[in-house]
């Protein structure tokens, strides 16, 4: 899993960066990686159980999820109104607001702000949306130094790697790997003691917070009514980034707005529980404007960049509900496939079930044709989602789009059409069953199982045996049973 950052975005103009294009190769390697599986079970599977038990403490968790989903739906249905309200109220409190149509535009705006304010060192709080824009690359290209201050993100930056989980970015590395990365970076003796490693980062970062000119954060929720930006973190680095430097830039996807302060508790109750099984994150910041006259801390300037980057296209179609996502990562933790392939396999910024949905929606199905299919449709993601995004149903819709757009092969389309035709008649169904039985019964070993199936079905026997059908089917057994009963009468 020691990945080296490959050249980003082989195709420019895509809304999301593509870290690697070969889903099947990654899936093949990760599926055989027992160390990865154990690490993921130890983290994400545990977090999933944490989510369940912490939600069970609420009187009506399901009702709360419904409410959160309804608030999001309402907001998305009136997004233009709430974004304008947010803009007005941020400006009222002394902030500046910018709208970016693309990720390139968002990066340009932030680079401009950095230049205008003479910022040389930028400290960053964890932000998935800045991963989406590849902001660090843009800042470096402009001669500005970005520094990730979330511990996980810091490790990844030092190692030139990408996050593989939405809220636990460095989940794919164990303590020993991190120990080696730090020993190289800090030129200190190796240790894999988590406390010592965290302390090394803490001492280093504290110093750099004091030197930074600008802090960049994401936004968990933006409250239209008050113009407040809500930031939920566990490490406190987010608070340092948004208070210590003289300039604060917040970058958000345009779907992050919620109507009113009264709506916030609904989401706060769900976010940390869904993400990590905590009742609340350690730090919940509600940032309204910048430093006012007479106040002795806080940034002198606040800039809010609201980014579209393909969201309005999704908003306009039948996939609108996918924009409800609050990036809690619960669907990743619940997903049996994520637990086997890890985040890297998904190839872009957003892994797991929500990534399998968002990545093709942002970048086009033709660029990610495996993602909608690489799901057993078990529904664990829908069950876990705090805003009730029906991910399996949307994945099926994406597959339907693939068929309609001619992305699936002609032979697959023919097979399904023939198959469905055959099943519309009892005679052709029975003929099909008989043919299958006769063929399969010639392939079996003595122990009653088939070890190798031909053609595309070989995938089955690559992993497990296939049963030989019994000599007689149910229809035959049932008929015998009925005629036996009649005779008995």
């Amino acid at each position: 899993m020691n990945s080296v950052k490959e050249s980003s975005s082989p195709k420019r103009g895509l809304s999301l960066p593509v870290f690697h294009p070969d889903f099947m190769a990654e899936a093949h390697a990760a599926s055989a990686d027992a160390v990865l599986h154990a690490a993921l079970d130890n983290s994400v599977t545990k977090k999933d159980y944490g989510r369940r038990s912490s939600l069970a403490e609420l009187p009506d968790a399901d009702g709360l999820r419904q409410l959160a989903g309804d608030i999001k739906r309402h907001t998305l249905d009136h997004l233009d109104y709430y974004l304008e309200l947010l803009e007005r109220n941020v400006i009222k409190h002394g902030g500046a607001v910018y709208f970016a149509a693309t990720r390139e535009e968002a990066n340009d705006l932030i680079v401009d702000i950095a230049r205008r304010t003479g910022s040389k060192l930028v400290v960053k709080s964890k932000s998935m949306v800045s991963e989406e824009t590849e902001l660090n690359d843009a800042l470096i290209a402009a001669g500005i130094e970005p520094l990730e201050t979330d511990l996980g993100e810091f490790i990844l930056q030092v190692d030139n790697d990408h996050p593989t989980h939405i809220v636990m970015p460095v989940i794919h590395k164990n303590a020993a790997e991190i120990g080696h990365i730090f020993a190289r970076y800090f030129k200190t003796p190796f240790t894999d003691n988590p406390q010592e490693l965290a302390e090394m980062a803490r001492v280093y970062l504290r110093n750099r917070f004091n030197q930074a000119d600008m802090g960049i954060s994401g936004v968990n929720f933006a409250i239209a009514e008050t113009g407040s930006l809500v930031l939920c973190t566990n490490e406190g680095n987010g608070r340092m980034c948004t208070t210590r430097p003289r300039v604060h830039v917040a970058l958000m996807g345009m779907e992050k707005v919620i109507p009113a302060l009264d709506d916030l508790p609904v989401f706060l109750k769900l976010l940390a529980r869904s993400a990590s099984g905590q009742a609340l994150t350690q730090y919940t910041n509600i940032i309204t404007g910048c430093r006012r006259p007479g106040e002795h801390d806080g940034p002198e300037e606040l800039h809010l960049v609201i980014m579209d980057n393909g969201r309005s296209k999704i908003l306009a179609g039948e996939y609108r509900d996918t924009l409800r996502c609050i990036r809690c990562g619960a669907c990743l933790n619940a997903c049996p496939i994520y637990r086997k392939v890890g985040g890297r396999t998904y190839g872009s910024v957003y892994p797991g079930p929500i990534g399998a949905l968002l990545t093709p929606l942002f970048n086009g199905l033709e660029n990610h044709k495996h993602l909608p299919h690489a799901s057993s449709l078990c529904g664990a993601c829908f069950e876990a989602c705090p805003v009730k995004i029906n991910i399996p149903e949307f994945l099926i819709k994406l597959k339907r789009d693939e068929v309609q757009q001619g992305i699936t092969t002609r032979s697959e389309r023919t097979v399904f059409k023939l198959w469905a035709w055959g099943l519309q008649h009892a005679w052709s169904y029975r003929l099909g069953q008989v043919v299958q039985r006769v063929m399969l019964r010639t392939m079996g070993s003595k122990d009653g199982w088939i070890k190798k199936l031909p053609g595309p079905a070989a995938g089955w026997t690559a992993q497990r045996d296939f049963p030989i059908p019994p000599k007689h089917d149910f229809r035959y057994a049932y008929k015998q049973y009925r005629s036996g009963k009649n005779r008995a009468k």
Binding site: C378, A380, I396, L423, D447, P456, F474
Partner: protein, 251 residues
């Protein structure tokens, strides 16, 4: 009570015993069971792979085949979930057929659901031929049915001679997922091996798996890996208990 069996294509071909166990146990609980022979498939593979028009044609056929059934019972939960979650929406633009679909969906039950919700059976008078230890895999379709594994486990525990041990990661998908198991066999294989390892850890003799696809997947992996437990549908266990108890009474 008159019930009609929807046996499903997989059970018909690969697991006739499961179908017969459903017939015999339902008769034991006082139902008269009928099997409409024109039935084929619910259309789930087509629907899940993005072919709603093909699924729709099969749904029309299903609804027609079972038009006069009081209850439609199926041993395969995922087929029942397909019907319940998608049949009505498939006819969103055809009010007449949609009405028929609504009526059909309301009469469809998965086997355990029917035993516990409609028949409200009590199995405590039944006992197994020999003491047996069980574990239970939560098949994913239960989510689609809005159900939990609790009713099936409760039924198992009622049987004389049955011991139950919980399965680690019981609710984690076994990796079947229809064409997923073939197209993404690496991932599916890792998933099913995890399931079999958890099953082996319980030390149970039998894992209850109430879906034809999951049973084929877990059973096939058990055989490949040489696991010591067997995979059974709960109907097979109840049928064995019914037969044993009847035999014991007769002798």
């Amino acid at each position: 009570m008159k019930v009609s069996l929807f046996v499903t294509c997989l059970t018909d071909l690969f697991a006739p015993d499961v179908g017969m166990a459903v017939v015999k146990t339902l008769e034991h609980f006082g139902c008269s069971v009928d099997f409409p022979t024109a039935q084929t498939c619910c259309g789930q593979p087509a629907f899940n792979n993005g072919y709603p028009a093909e699924a729709r044609a099969l749904a029309v056929k299903m609804i027609d085949v079972f038009h006069d059934a009081d209850y439609i019972i199926t041993p395969s939960g995922s087929c029942c979930a397909m019907i319940r979650d998608h049949y009505i929406e498939l006819f969103h633009d055809d009010p007449d057929q949609r009405k028929l679909a609504e009526d059909f969906v309301a009469r469809c039950y998965e086997y355990v659901e029917f035993l516990t919700k409609i028949l409200k059976v009590d199995l405590s008078t039944l006992s197994l031929p020999e003491n047996e230890t069980f574990t239970y895999h939560f098949t994913c379709h239960l989510r689609g049915l809005g159900a939990t594994g609790e009713p099936a486990i409760r039924l198992l525990k009622q049987l004389g001679g049955a011991q139950f041990t919980a399965l680690e990661k019981a609710e984690q998908c076994c990796g079947f997922g229809g064409t997923f198991a073939i197209k993404y066999s690496d991932i599916s294989g890792a998933m099913v091996r995890d399931k079999v390892q958890c099953g082996s850890k319980t030390g149970a003799q039998t894992m209850i798996v109430n879906d034809g696809g999951c049973a084929m997947n877990i059973g096939g992996a058990c055989h490949r890996m040489g696991a010591s437990f067997r995979v059974q549908h709960i109907a097979q266990i109840i049928a064995a208990a019914v037969e044993h108890t009847a035999g014991a009474k007769a002798s």
